[in-house]
Amino acid sequence: MEIMKYTLKVLPDVSVFSTLIPFVFALLSYKKLSTELKLIFYLVVAAMVTELISSVVPFLTNSSNIVFINSYYIVETILITLFYVKITANRYWNYVMLLLCLAACIWSLVYMFGTSKDSMNIIAVAIESVSVIVYALLTYYYFLKNIEHANIFGVPVFWMNTAFLLFFGGNLFLHIFSNYLLENALYSFFELWGLIHSSLNISFYLLISIGFWKTRKFQL
């Protein structure tokens, strides 16, 4: 039980610092990063900054950090969409993704600066998760259709895509889970929610780190 308590206490901090791993890996192979991988690097940087601000702001100003998190979701949506646009060869599908991204961003901005300033844009999170899952599955299909690499484990985009699929798959579940907890005021279970969230975050950044690491040896 002591270990469990300790894990619950430590894991969110580990999750915050886990963004440093892909950041370091990306810096080490920055010269070799392709445009799409640079987008993921910017995403990692955005995540680091958000984590930092979200942790510091409540202590310093005694105000909510929701606005930063909502802003991060907009940046995340843009960067992930651009990543998939860059790796998808189908022009029409790219237009669809860009249009969806634009609509999501406009809606998120209206939400942020509208009446719901202090609440999480949970619908946007759910839509983003579903979209990224679809993009990731389509990318797998694209990989299968066009066998371009003898060793799939050596392809950085494969690791990034796997990271997105698992992270956003888990996020979708967390979204349903948090909704249920909020509806029934089961705040004591948010520790469990946090544990799952942190685990997902750590695995996401670890997979992204592998992707950046693979860039060093990857040749098109």
Partner: protein
């Protein structure tokens, strides 16, 4: 009594776990399918490679056979009858000498016959290894050949648009193969097309050397030449195809009422 909310949470967590496991299983299935496809792809490439190797081997055999056939034909049809005739004449001269009826005029004719036989053997040797090609290179040899065809009846033109040293980068063996392909093409044109105007265009397209022969005779299409090659019992067309295959090149036949062409593209590794 269990709290229904706790039970729902447990159910949610279980479903979440099942969902995540399903995603992980999906990724594993994807990896297995990908690997199987890669293996299948490799197998197909290997098969193609083997097939190509087989074709190259067959081509080499065909070329060797056609060379042997040509040499045998040369020796059998020209040198052999000359030497047989010379043997008969020499016997005749020996008998005439014994009878004191020896004719120096007849003897001179036989010396000419020997010269012809020597010329024939020299020509066969030259066919096997053209000294002009070795000395002056491919382009000069082709130009010389075209110039030789020119007469009052046949107008010839050579357009050399080569700017780089692409032909010099070709190995001697490749130059010889190109020369033979060119000879075979010209031979076929002289035999079957009935042209009276011909233009040889030499140029480069990327890292490819292009030899294009324009003529105003009877042209042929790629499909027609393919059918002819398949139906042909002789080695000419087959060896032509085999040589182009060995060169990793391509021939494109274009048929037109007024001006037909044959375009030979040879990749040159830079």
């Amino acid at each position: 009594m269990e709290n229904p909310q706790v039970s729902t949470i447990t159910e949610l967590v279980v479903f979440g776990c099942i969902g995540m496991i399903a995603l992980i299983v999906f990724i594993f299935i994807f990896i297995i399918m990908y690997q199987r496809k890669v293996n299948l792809h490799k197998l197909r490439i290997n098969e193609k490679e083997n097939q190509h190797q087989k074709q190259l081997l067959e081509s080499t055999i065909i070329i060797e056979e056609s060379e042997r056939e040509r040499i045998a034909k040369n020796l059998h049809d020209s040198v052999n009858p000359m030497l047989t005739l010379l043997k008969l004449n020499l016997t005749k001269h020996r008998m005439a000498f014994a009878k004191n009826t020896f004719s120096p005029e007849e003897y001179k004719k036989d010396v000419v016959l020997i010269d012809h036989a020597i010329e024939n053997i020299r020509s066969t040797c030259s066919d096997l290894l053209p000294s002009f090609l070795l000395e002056f290179g491919l382009i000069k040899t082709l130009e010389e050949y075209i110039k030789k065809i020119g007469s009052d009846l046949i107008q010839v033109k050579i357009t050399n648009d080569l700017n780089s040293d692409i032909p010099d980068q070709l190995k001697k063996q490749q130059q010889l193969l190109i020369y033979r392909v060119f000879l075979e093409l010209m031979n076929n044109l002289l035999k079957h097309s009935g042209f009276n105007q011909i233009n040889l265009l030499l140029k480069e397209e990327g890292a490819n050397l292009i030899l294009q022969i324009f003529h105003n005779g009877k042209g042929i299409t790629n499909e027609e030449i393919e059918k002819l090659t398949e139906a042909s019992k002789g080695l000419g067309l087959r060896s032509l195809k085999a040589r182009v295959l060995l060169l990793n090149g391509n021939i494109d036949y274009q048929k037109n009422e007024t001006l037909s062409s044959i375009k030979l593209s040879i990749p040159v590794k830079v």
